[in-house]
Symmetry: C2
């Protein structure tokens, strides 16, 4: 039972999950500074399944065939190639049955109803998305879609965030290859702002603003890679060095309807661009996050995509007190170098 | 001559300074990862004044008396106690004389006209704001005010950001005690959003929303410290563990009019709260930034303050793709521990 709160700033449209249940004492940070020791036992490795909650989704390798299953009986299965489990310390998981005994309904406050899951991307601890087999990347995409479908259908879920933190500096607390999925009861600011702007553009121009952005960037100096289904480019106002976005050419607000061949093309785009990043900057930490709208009304004007943020700089006092970023690598240079690297790798 | 651009995102009200002049090659990040060697010579220490540009403001200790001066003749003075110099790699400093030879006027683009300065807070390399003498803190506040006054009066300046990065993890690239000042030609998103919300509140209620917040927080579980002039509290929706804000009780949109005794009370508030943070979490990295409005029209409803962000967590894929934060220390607990520590230190 986790009775977390989502609080809004006094003035700004800025929300924060206050993890009252998972809460740490201020002095905990002193210890965590001292012992940066490695995990001794990886809770996400094969054989250690008992260290995490029961799986909500498993892809099993049954004699070469991939079988979808849930881990709903003992003994826990070990032949998985993808495993999704509830996060032991969920940011979102407020019970709907009233068992949180404080009435937290107030202005500037929402209960943190939802789900927080860890998607183990491979049985191999060090599996890297830039060198993994295309088939495993497609398994990963399928697992994202499966969880998005299940969680996005729940009546109390307004948004599903699918994201990946790679490397300690990018916030990964476990080193085993994994993504995270958070289903939440509010529409987050970033998605809300994108939806609003793209709806306004659609009302005025009767077309998708993202489709227009793709058309422009395909022809310009910020293009990194494209195949018949996807475009990878460095956005005009990249807020981080070497940032890039992956867009499907086919208009859709969510990735639920991807065809088999589109998944292939998406996996290729991910693999090529993440490999180039890895080679160019010597395996840097990074974050990526899907931008998806699960609201069917937005289908006409919202366009899903994946944003990749290499962690090569620190947001400091200036960024925090103004909301303005400083990027020391112009996206045109980032795109040139990344695209050259993709060609070099072949 | 620095011809940087400020670019706006395709859709969102999100701006970034693209440092085209200071720009780094992507491969630079590989090197900087390898050699995290310390500075050999500190460019901010006494005796090394020639390593930085000529000062725009000096506070000199002339036989115990503090004299304000600019470093406008050789030899460069060495008896300074505060020294403000232009940043060698300014984010903002686009020349107004047309010498940037590209016409960059376009939609979603502003030239990065302005100033970017480094304020050396003390001749002592390791001077710490939590242990420095109150007199030196008041010198620092006076220097902030002097630069704010000068830069804020320039016709092309819409906002002055005064901020401090302490510790490498918080983005400080130099270890010598220093703050930074950036004068810019746009009103940043954070300040704009605060101004808009506080103006709306004022129009409806004929009072300052910040004054009301202060009244409430003074009485509540998030109060950390107060004296006759200032209140320190952990904000209701703190986005970082142990975050705290320092507010003047007297309503004002900017700190230009602070009296001598108010500066004393502000210095005391800073010193007490920063000391508590240092003691409680073993000298953590942090950022702070002033929230100021230099537009006289906002005087009635905007209320200046200082926001302090201890750097005890990492904003990762979730934060970047949603704009929602997760904070594992409830502000009520942060306030309790910080206020207890203040009492203990005495």
């Amino acid at each position: 039972m986790v009775c977390n709160e989502i609080r809004k700033d006094y003035l700004m449209n800025r929300w924060v999950v206050i993890a009252t249940e998972r809460s740490r004492r201020p002095t905990d940070f002193v210890k965590s500074k001292a012992d940066s020791a490695k995990e001794k036992v990886c809770p996400l490795c094969v054989g250690n399944e008992a260290l995490t909650p029961q799986a909500v989704l498993l892809y099993l390798n049954e004699k070469g065939k991939i079988i979808k299953d849930a881990d709903n009986h003992q003994p826990r299965k070990k032949n998985w190639i993808i495993r999704v489990v509830p996060n032991l310390y969920p940011a979102f998981s407020y019970p709907l049955d009233g068992s949180c005994n404080v009435d937290r309904r107030a202005v500037n406050l929402v209960n943190a109803v939802g789900h927080h899951e860890v998607l183990v991307e491979s049985p191999n601890h060090d599996e890297d998305l830039s060198s993994t087999k295309l088939e495993q990347l497609i398994n990963l995409i399928n697992a994202y879609i499966d969880r998005l479908d299940t969680l996005g259908s729940k009546p109390y879920v307004k948004h599903v965030a699918i994201f990946r933190n790679y490397g300690k500096e990018a916030g990964a607390s476990l080193t085993h290859a994994h993504s995270q999925i958070i289903a939440m009861p509010i529409l987050p600011r970033v998605i809300k702002e994108e939806i609003k702007a793209s709806r306004n553009f659609y009302d005025k121009n009767k077309k998708c603003v993202f489709c227009e952005i793709i058309e422009n960037e395909k022809k310009g100096p910020r293009l990194i890679f494209q195949n018949s289904g996807f475009v990878v480019f460095a956005p005009y106002a990249s807020i981080q060095p070497l940032e890039f976005w992956i867009f499907p050419k086919k208009h859709n607000s969510t990735l639920l309807a991807l065809t088999k061949s589109e998944k292939n093309l998406f996996a290729e785009s991910m693999k090529k661009s993440l490999s180039a990043l890895r080679v160019l900057v010597n395996d840097p930490p990074y974050n990526y996050g899907f931008h998806i709208s699960i609201n069917k009304k937005t289908q006409k004007y919202y366009h899903w995509h994946l944003e990749v943020y290499p962690k090569l700089s620190i947001w400091a006092g200036f960024e925090k007190s103004t909301g303005i970023y400083i990027n020391t690598v112009p996206p045109e240079i980032a795109a040139l170098e990344l695209s050259k690297t993709i060609k070099k790798i072949g």
